[in-house]
């Protein structure tokens, strides 16, 4: 096959490309330039947008002896991922930018471009199994990324090759070292690649400005604190609340809801976060749903047995065990064992 390997500059995509070459495919490497202002060489923090990553990606292509190009998707990334991230927070939801990037950039813009240029599929270093169009969890449960790939349509999955699904991360590093790839011991990238210092609240503040509002106790209705922007809070969050009035029962308070219009952040006891039912929009079915299955409601989150019922255009999930703190905007991914059955967005 003619394959286009997306080389992020990290160890996973490097080994994925190497395995594709070794399997006899005709492989071309591309690095996606996603930042409109590529950071100059940084030492400590790493992100997928830095020049250093572009150089690491090009060295991988050198070692593998494959052609290498840089594709500029900065404008599209800004519009579809960064702006979307900010808008979702502003609307009181909690977006997953990696999922959005997979959905809109890697497996739409890049895949469409690759197919138009005559490639058969795109190869990435995601940790998930994809065999005969069936997506399932990685052999490395701790690194599993099937959750952020479950939003891909069957057509998108048909144009995707994931060579790492049966490997653990440790094994991937060994394979990289055996092949002389310099990225073998490169640290994993942090969560949000376009927030270099990891300060999400600061990033949102710089985009959305100060929007002060009250923090209200759900039990008493009393104002127990103030905030500078409701977008800085996520359902289920406990730390960083800085409440001025201690809770009457002396127990910790959690964010129960975020209401962007009135700028109200409501807090309350942990058990008030327990959810037995989750409503979802944007359902995407990969396989027929059995009578009961399991749902994962956030990246690396717990799995709950559930029953799925149709609810208008969406679904209503009845959970066998309560989930604590379901943030609207996160993906709800349904599994049968390791196999991905469907995905949707929690409302």
């Amino acid at each position: 096959m003619r394959l286009l390997a997306a080389l992020s500059g990290g160890v996973d995509s490097a080994v994925a490309a190497a395995l594709a070459v070794e399997a006899g495919h005709d492989v071309t490497g591309v690095h996606l330039a996603l930042s409109t202002s590529p950071a100059t060489l940084r030492s400590g923090s790493r992100g997928c947008c830095s020049k250093e990553d572009a150089r690491d990606a090009s060295r991988v292509a050198d070692v593998l002896g494959i052609p290498y190009y840089v594709w500029d998707f900065a404008e599209q990334f800004r519009a579809d991922v960064v702006d979307d991230f900010v808008a979702e927070y502003a609307a009181g939801r909690t977006p997953n930018p990696c999922l959005r990037c997979n959905e809109r950039i890697k497996f739409t813009a890049v895949l469409d471009r690759a197919l138009a240029l005559g490639f058969d599929a795109v190869v990435t270093g995601h940790h998930a199994r994809l065999e005969h169009g069936v997506l399932s969890r990685s052999a490395d449960a701790g690194k599993d990324q099937s959750y952020v790939l479950a939003v891909l349509t069957p057509q998108q999955l048909a144009g995707t090759v994931l060579p790492l699904g049966h490997l653990t991360k440790a094994r991937v590093r060994e394979l990289a070292a055996e092949r002389g790839l310099g990225v073998a011991d490169k640290p994993d990238s942090h969560d949000v690649c376009f927030i270099a210092d990891g300060d999400t609240a600061g990033f949102l503040r710089s985009h959305l400005g100060s929007q002060p509002g009250p923090v209200v106790d759900a039990l008493t209705g009393a104002v127990v604190g103030a905030h500078d922007g409701a977008y800085g809070y996520t359902v289920g969050q406990r730390r960083g609340l800085a409440l001025s009035v201690p809770a009457a029962d002396g127990r910790p308070r959690y964010v129960l809801s975020v209401e962007p219009v009135s700028r109200t952040v409501t807090v309350g006891p942990g058990e008030a976060l327990d959810v037995h039912e989750v409503r979802c929009t944007r359902p995407l079915l990969h396989a027929p749903l059995p009578a009961s299955c399991a749902v994962q409601l956030r990246a690396h989150g717990a799995v709950h047995d559930c029953v799925v019922r149709q609810d208008g255009d969406g679904w209503r999930l009845s959970l066998a065990t309560p989930a604590r703190g379901v943030a609207p905007g996160q993906a709800a991914v349904l599994y049968d064992g390791d196999r991905v059955l469907a995905s949707a967005t929690s409302a």
Partner: protein
């Protein structure tokens, strides 16, 4: 480069390597090294119509451009603090462009990017108007000899004359010109001229600034003062020897190369425009106004990097934008300055011909080009 030229340059580099020593040391090996450098200086000067004392060897074209732009600006401002204005063409290479921008950001220079016409040419009247608005505050004028993207040759001699009428020093980046066009420093009137070895078959990592004896220039690098106190640092003697030999050969063969390449290039242009009727040639139509080996097109509806990938996979090497801007392809400032729309700038591709190019290669290109353009048109556009 031709095989025999490669052999001659390699022989010069090897000879200098075996004569190795530090050219600024006083012992015998040092004297041998110094002799290599001085002979190279004479040889390079002779090839370019300059005097040996005007040749300042340095590490690259980029260093030479930086030394000229910053060094002359600093010296002119030191002599008269009113002189802070830089007049530069809008199509300069980044080695000049970024040096100028640096002076503007960090040293308080005021910059005027002189507009060019649709072919990328700076009209002498444009320079005259900019100078005569206030000749007393101009620190220097810098205009490249020939453009690295679209091949446009600038009327350097007339531009230099205008600067000289007001006693303003004139620098020209001639990196693309040496070996491709007749370059004679004395008759051109330029006060400072930049060249680099790797553009005419010499070694990588060595360049020179030909700097008039009476042009004050503050060094970028301070130290032993090896090069006329304008540039310090032990020279790479073998590279310097290779540079001088390569320049001599390139200048000797320039007329023949020019005739052969411009013929081949005109053929390529004609055939591309026939095979892809809506392709647009960027830059001058040809003749003496354009580098002989340069052809540059926009292919409407295509993105340059799609074309590049598809041609590369079929054994044809081309470039988008300037080859020096590694990685991300941005619409070229040169095409934008020539009045191209951003989409046309993104849809452009440069074909460079050199010593080894043949009609068979042009045939091979034309065989794949129509199919490649058609496929590139089907690629979804990016924002």
């Amino acid at each position: 480069m031709l095989r025999e030229a490669v052999e001659t340059v390699t022989a010069a580099v090897t000879a200098a390597l075996t004569a190795a020593g530090n050219a600024s040391s006083l012992h015998t090996a040092g004297r041998r090294a110094r002799r290599v450098v001085e002979e190279s200086r004479e040889q390079l000067a002779a090839a370019l119509g300059a005097r040996p004392s005007e040749v300042v060897f340095c590490g690259s074209g980029t260093e030479s451009d930086n030394l000229a732009v910053k060094g002359i600006w600093w010296a002119r401002r030191a002599a008269d603090p009113r002189r802070t204005r830089i007049l530069a063409s809008a199509v300069e290479h980044h080695a000049v462009l970024d040096a100028v921008e640096w002076l503007a950001t960090h040293e308080g220079a005021t910059v005027e990017w002189l507009p060019v016409d649709r072919d990328g040419r700076l009209h002498p009247d444009v320079l005259r108007e900019a100078v005569e608005r206030d000749p007393s505050d101009v620190a220097l004028v810098t205009v490249m000899w020939a453009n690295n993207e679209v091949g446009t040759v600038q009327p350097v001699r007339r531009l230099a004359e205008i600067a000289h009428e007001h006693g303003i020093p004139f620098h020209s980046d001639a990196v693309q010109a040496v070996g491709q066009l007749p370059v004679d420093v004395a008759t051109s009137g330029v006060d400072a001229l930049t060249l680099t070895g790797h553009k005419f078959g010499g070694p990588l990592g060595v360049g020179a600034l030909v700097l008039g004896r009476d042009i004050a220039c503050v060094p970028l690098l301070h130290g032993g003062g090896q090069e006329r106190d304008v540039r310090s640092g032990t020279l790479d003697t073998p590279a310097v020897a290779g540079l001088a030999v390569a320049a001599t050969l390139a200048v000797e063969r320039q007329p023949e190369l020019h005739a052969r390449l411009s013929g081949l290039r005109d053929d390529l242009v004609r055939r591309v425009l026939t095979a892809v009727p809506d392709a647009v040639l960027n830059g001058p139509a040809g003749g003496v106004d354009r580098l002989p080996g340069n052809a540059h097109f926009s292919f409407p509806g295509c993105e340059g990097d799609s074309l590049l990938l598809l041609l590369d996979a079929r054994g044809v090497e081309v470039s988008t934008g300037s080859a020096c801007s590694s990685g991300v392809a941005r619409p070229s400032h040169v095409l934008l300055a020539m009045g191209a729309a951003e989409d046309d700038a993104r849809s452009s591709l440069r074909f460079s011909l050199g010593h080894t190019s043949t009609t068979a290669e042009v045939d091979a290109l034309l065989e794949v080009l129509p199919g490649v353009v058609e496929r590139a048109r089907s690629v979804p556009a990016r924002r």
